[in-house]
């Protein structure tokens, strides 16, 4: 035990002393914010500028005018209007040269960025539903708004024409739609952005620590193999102690790093009033149940992947050789990121549930599901808590198997220099 402790403290000191460790503590969150927060913030963000629009109304029933009215309800954050209708053209529908000249002119305005887009309301639109929006780029929220508003106006006109004698405004009022607000059980409001953000923050931390430190460990094994120090080490300690010392030493460095992140996060959380930060997001992150499972999965995920990386390091002589072996491991870590969107929409589907119980996917997928489904208390009545606990047991069993296998291969592999062994050779090592 004493020797193991000496090994652990050296590995720990080697990592923590390095400048890259300190840099990693501050750069990783920035990188994480970069890849997870910024895209979702951008997607959620309302456009900051007033969109300049033009309408060509070929229908001639004043739909364009009506549309302009309805758009006035949309405001930007600074309460300036979201849309500015510069012009409503109403050329005669049979003046095709006039129309095509007008469109060419508007097209060039769009190309010169003097106009965001223009809307073409075609003739007899109430029958053929033909409305076209021309522009360089479109936002989902604008498209939804336009669709909804024009549909409403057309419904009003149709209702009127079918002799139900109501004014357009009262028709609009009677046919108005609702907006769904999402909440998790317990009444906390949830929206797509928050779920995506918090879930991905946890997935990214697990993913990056396991991958980053796993590869550090693999490289150090390869380096110690190349410098031949490894044979001196295993003459003083057992290969298993040597491997365990590396994994635990680096693991403590990982926990130090994540601990610092949590502390920074908590500090920000406690000052959330003064700093203008969404309480929803921070509240979702600092949920004790989720934090508990996160730390367990972080540790399990780290042990599982770093052991695999130690195995790869022990059978390879160069980083380059190792790349071939790393690929399947990295792929299994990336999968949750790839199917992340699907998990957020269908966290309880059979496919996702089964995948999240396969140990190599458990740490990342299960923490994502926990975030999406939500768990306020530690009760097995909530199926996700039960499944997350089952995931811990299965992962622990898989880790035991991986460690057993790796310790067999490791002790032979670290003494094999030169040619990279073939798979049958590696399997025979288990018996040595």
């Amino acid at each position: 035990m004493k020797k193991l402790w000496i090994l652990i403290s050296r590995e720990y000191a080697q990592v923590v002393k390095k400048k890259s460790f300190l840099i990693g503590i501050f750069l990783t969150p920035i990188f994480m914010v970069g890849v997870t927060v910024i895209p979702s913030l951008l997607a959620m963000k309302k456009s900051a500028e007033t969109d300049k629009l033009t309408i060509i109304d070929l229908d001639g029933q004043g739909i364009g005018k009506k549309f302009e009215e309805t758009l006035k309800r949309y405001k930007l954050d600074d309460s300036s209007p979201a849309y500015d209708i510069a012009n409503i053209y109403t050329p005669r529908p049979d003046d095709s040269t006039g129309i095509s000249n007008l469109r060419k002119e508007l097209d060039s305005l769009i190309s010169a960025k003097k106009l965001k887009s223009y809307l073409v309301i075609n003739k007899a639109v109430e029958q053929n539903d033909s409305v076209v929006l021309v522009g360089r780029s479109f936002s989902i929220s604008t498209n939804n708004r336009f669709e909804r508003r024009i549909s409403d106006i057309l419904s009003g006109i149709r209702l009127q024409k079918s002799q139900i004698n109501l004014g357009i405004d009262s028709v609009l009022n009677l046919t108005r739609r609702i907006e769904l607000k999402e909440q998790s059980p317990g009444g906390k409001s949830r929206d797509f952005g928050t779920v995506f953000l918090t879930g991905m923050v946890f997935v990214m931390i697990i993913f990056m620590t396991a991958l980053g430190y796993g590869q550090t460990l693999m490289r150090s094994v390869i380096e110690e193999k190349n410098s031949r120090i490894i044979e001196i080490m295993v003459s003083s300690v057992s290969p298993f102690q040597f491997m365990a010392g590396k994994i635990i030493g680096l693991g403590l460095a990982t926990l130090t790093q994540v601990g610092i992140w949590l502390a920074i996060g908590l500090a920000i959380y406690s000052y959330r009033g003064t700093l203008d930060i969404s309480a929803d997001i921070m509240g979702a992150i600092f949920n004790p149940v989720i934090i508990f499972f996160f730390l367990v999965y972080l540790i399990l995920g780290y042990i599982m992947f770093s052991t695999l990386f130690a195995l790869i390091g022990s059978i390879c002589n160069t980083d380059k050789e190792a790349q071939n072996f790393i690929f399947p491991v990295t792929m299994s870590m990336i999968l949750p990121l790839i199917i992340g969107m699907y998990v957020i929409q269908e966290p309880d589907s059979t496919v996702v549930t089964v995948l999240s119980l396969i140990p190599i996917f458990t740490p990342t997928l299960m923490i994502l599901r926990l975030n999406v489904i939500g768990a306020e208390t530690f009760s097995f009545a909530n199926s996700i808590v039960l499944e997350a606990t089952l995931g811990i047991i299965l992962t622990a069993l898989a880790i035991a198997l991986i460690i057993w296998l790796t310790s067999k291969i490791f002790r032979v592999g670290i003494l094999m220099y030169g040619k990279r062994p073939t798979l049958p050779e590696i399997l025979r090592w288990i018996k040595y």
Binding site: K3, I6, R228, I229, E231, I232, P239, L415, E425, R428
Partner: protein, 309 residues
């Protein structure tokens, strides 16, 4: 002398290829014991089995009559054939670390480091990184890490490989000093000339099998004095016809005669002096190399020295 290490009938095969085949040997306490043989004879595999880095397929290894336990790792100083250290650590750090994992008392380490660095004239590099040292200095440092924790037995694989001539002499002196303190020393090498100057006991192995073992001087005596070096004036070609002489090798200023084991040496001398002037006539012991060549060429089963005696 009591027996320190006993290897009893160990064998090891890799993927059907036999690396070590029913090898037995006995290392007396406080002796210098050499395992000699050509490359690929199974020396490294044997040493790795003694170090419990790999497990033998069959057979047992006993240290002072007991099966080696994890405690044995603390009492041995091991230098593998392929050498290396943590290049980014300082000399003091790397020596301390390797002594600590040998369970060497912490309070003794610092003093020992200074003594050893002074002895190897590396004192001024104490706080330098290993990678800043020259190759020769790294070799000396490697020896410090092998010996600092006062091991009971020092095991060195291919002792002379990669050593420059100055370091070879230095290391020989240090090993002899260790021997005087009662340390048992076991090493392997394929350099027979060097082993001959250092060893008390040897074991010759070839193709995984023991060819012969025993006390070096006894082995040599057993093989008899079978060669004569003669410095003479004139043509020595006639010597071929002298009865009892098997072969002649001519060197620049002397000739070497290989003689049959029952030959009458005085008769040979008399016949030579009749024809030429002789400046020097010397009976030589066979070198280890000669013995190895003679023995290894024959079938190993026929040359189990212990049985023959």
């Amino acid at each position: 002398m009591s027996e320190y290490l006993k290897i009893d009938n160990i064998s090891k095969a890799y993927d059907g290829k036999v690396a070590v085949d029913s090898l037995s040997l006995s290392v007396p306490k406080g002796s210098i014991y050499g395992i000699l043989g050509p490359n690929g004879a199974g020396k490294t595999t044997t040493i790795r089995m003694i170090m419990d880095i790999i497990a033998p397929d069959t057979g047992s290894i006993l240290v002072e009559g007991k099966k080696a336990d994890s405690n044995f790792k603390n009492r041995v100083g091991y230098l593998p054939e392929e050498r290396g250290l943590y290049k980014k650590m300082t000399l003091a750090e790397v020596i301390t670390y390797l002594a600590e994992i040998k369970d060497y008392p912490k309070q003794k380490i610092n003093q020992a480091i200074d003594n050893w660095l002074a002895k190897m004239s590396l004192s001024e590099y104490k706080l330098k990184k290993v990678e800043e040292l020259s190759k020769g200095m790294q070799q000396k440092l490697q020896f410090i890490t092998t010996l600092l924790h006062e091991p009971e037995i020092i095991i060195l694989d291919e002792l002379f490989s990669g050593l420059d001539p100055i370091n070879i002499e230095l290391i020989k002196d240090i090993l002899l000093e260790e021997k005087r303190r009662g340390t048992t020393i076991l090493f392997s090498t394929h350099v027979m000339e060097q082993a001959e100057k250092l060893c008390d006991y040897i074991c010759l192995i070839n193709q995984g099998k023991k060819v012969l073992d025993g006390h070096l001087s006894e082995i040599k005596a057993g093989f008899g004095k079978n060669s004569i070096q003669v410095e003479l004036e004139g043509d020595a070609a006639f010597a071929r016809d002298i009865p009892g002489i098997d072969s002649i090798t001519e060197f620049n200023n002397y000739i070497e005669l290989k003689v049959a084991s029952k030959a009458d040496i005085r008769m040979i001398l008399r016949q030579l002096t009749e024809k030429v002037n002789i400046k020097r006539f010397e009976l030589m012991e066979p070198s280890l190399y000669d013995i190895f060549i003679e023995v290894a060429r024959a079938k190993p089963e026929e040359f189990i020295w212990g049985n023959k005696k």
